[in-house]
Assembly symmetry: C2
Homo-oligomer: 324 residues x 2
């Protein structure tokens, strides 16, 4: 079997290009994959030259510009069509690699992926998956791309989420929950009530409605993009608040001593809930594997995303053979 | 000015009737209000007899039955119309008190309040407010009563929330935010886009859309009941998860010593985010003040709710003079 190839948008992200390049080099070796870097050739060459570790097989596709956070997402198809992001997506379409990882603006990456790549056969909408750490990591989809969806589209999200959870998140028989305002079958708006029926008959391991305080109890949580985004951001906000309060508890002289006593556990918790550990966000429903790594990803986070992209290639093969 | 009178459903709640009666007695003295207890007369008399502290002016309305968590909310109007909950709401309607506090099942209390009491003049829907502690306490409404609302109804929620935040939560010029999946004006579904326009022109201190990670930044957060419930439960879930993790950090011998060093701060944080400290949930849009105290309220939490009910009487006078 030929080596898998991961295309890397080297120039997008708060810590780009160094974090992306170092992360991809390390992830390339660890996962035994080829890397195709897209970005300014001389910059990439210099950073690879500086890098101290082992280097995987790689090539570089030159891109003249970079899409910044100031650029509107739509510019990726117009004045920024020579950006590393746009060229990386085109390279994926042209078969120069099997999957793509980018830390670019979510909207721009989603726009480019949707317009340049096709959707999976039979899939009506592509969804933005978010892997969120609570009691355990779970996949929330849609986490913000589709505000207006039908029950049939949510069922498709669930089918794709099931495959992703099995192959990439390594869950056996993943549990699927429907985000809702109560656990009973008739809860929610007509959208949830209809979706419940479809999920119940789907053959998936559907465990019913899950309320906001039970999110970490299942592997895949299905929601429309509006509600999913509210849940995602709310989790982020409360987690940030809690970490801030914890920092406050360990401040001052007594706090500093207390911290030393429990440091190992605190660091373990921080690692558990650190977004980087969860990898990036998969776009589900696109015909080729695209992983959106965090904008603020460091090289470690980017390395994790490379491994995720490799597994997503296998997941997508299964999705392509699935009946939607 | 005559003394205000608070009607207390003495029999509903996990710790009823003792927590409700002790809390009401203490709250009655502290807030200088009369108490009307509704419940089993002999039981209430015995508990008051046992009580060691000062006792406010009070009377008792006998109720033969209690609505339990096993009873469907609708039974409050039928076979359980002789319950302490049903009779307490009727007593409020008949002017035997100025406000009502109950730890009963939210659905049953909301049903009884909606059917027995009228809505505020001009108000189309009553909302369930939740007072939630994060960076600061904020009022979320609707937190679950109305899944299907119009922009005009959300504007009414905002107007009522503004008064409640001023009078009961003591906020000067309360900030109002619209829960949404982005900060820009055109974000959200048609419901949010239309509501944004109305709020912008309302004369309220509208600060725009707030995302899930910015909830603790404003005084009043407006949402439809479906989304509000998702946000509320998600906050509860992540807060519970965080507290569990913190407990884990302070477990074991080293943890126990560390805990002693920072105990004061931990207790302060626990107090800050303890639901009881936020008081109960106001029903907004009902023509008389009804506060839903927590089902698991202890006497302290119930006492807080009594003070809240007293202030809600003043807030409701202002709402009655408002133009909806």
């Amino acid at each position: 079997m030929a080596k898998k190839t991961i295309i890397v948008d080297a120039m997008s992200g708060d810590n780009a290009p160094r974090a992306q390049i170092y992360g991809a080099l390390q992830g390339g070796v660890e996962n035994d994959v080829r890397i195709v870097f897209v970005g300014k050739e001389d910059v990439i060459k210099n950073i690879i030259f500086e890098y101290q570790g082992s280097i995987p097989e790689y090539e570089i596709i030159h891109a003249e510009s970079v899409l910044t956070m100031e650029d509107a997402p739509s510019t990726v198809m117009g004045e920024k069509s020579d950006s590393s992001l746009a060229l990386a997506v085109k390279a994926l379409k042209e078969g120069k690699g099997d999957a793509l990882v980018s830390s670019a603006n979510t909207g721009a990456l989603f726009t480019a992926a949707s317009l340049i790549l096709r959707r999976l056969k039979g899939v009506r909408r592509a969804a933005l998956g978010a892997v969120i750490p609570l009691e355990k990591r779970f996949l929330l989809l849609d986490s913000g791309a589709n505000l207006d969806v039908t029950p049939e589209q949510l069922l498709q999200f669930a089918k794709m989420g099931d495959v992703y959870a099995r192959v990439v998140m390594k869950r056996l028989d993943p549990t699927i929950g429907l985000l809702n305002n109560g656990s009973e079958e008739m809860k929610g708006t007509p959208l949830q009530i209809e979706t419940y029926k479809l999920l119940k008959e789907s053959g998936l391991n559907f465990i019913g409605n899950v309320e906001g305080d039970k999110l970490g109890k299942c592997d895949v949580v299905i929601a429309d993009g509006y509600t999913g985004n509210i849940a995602l951001k709310t989790i982020e906000g409360v987690a940030k608040f809690s970490l801030g309060e914890m920092k406050n508890i360990f401040s001052g002289p007594c706090g500093a001593i207390a911290y030393l006593l429990v440091k190992k556990k605190v660091l373990k918790l921080k690692k558990k809930i650190k977004p980087a550990e969860s990898g990036g966000a998969p776009f589900l429903g696109i015909s080729m594997p695209v992983i959106k790594a965090h904008g603020g990803a460091d090289s470690y986070a980017f390395k994790i995303a490379i491994g995720q992209a490799k597994d997503y290639i296998d997941a997508l093969k299964i999705m392509k053979e699935s009946d939607f």
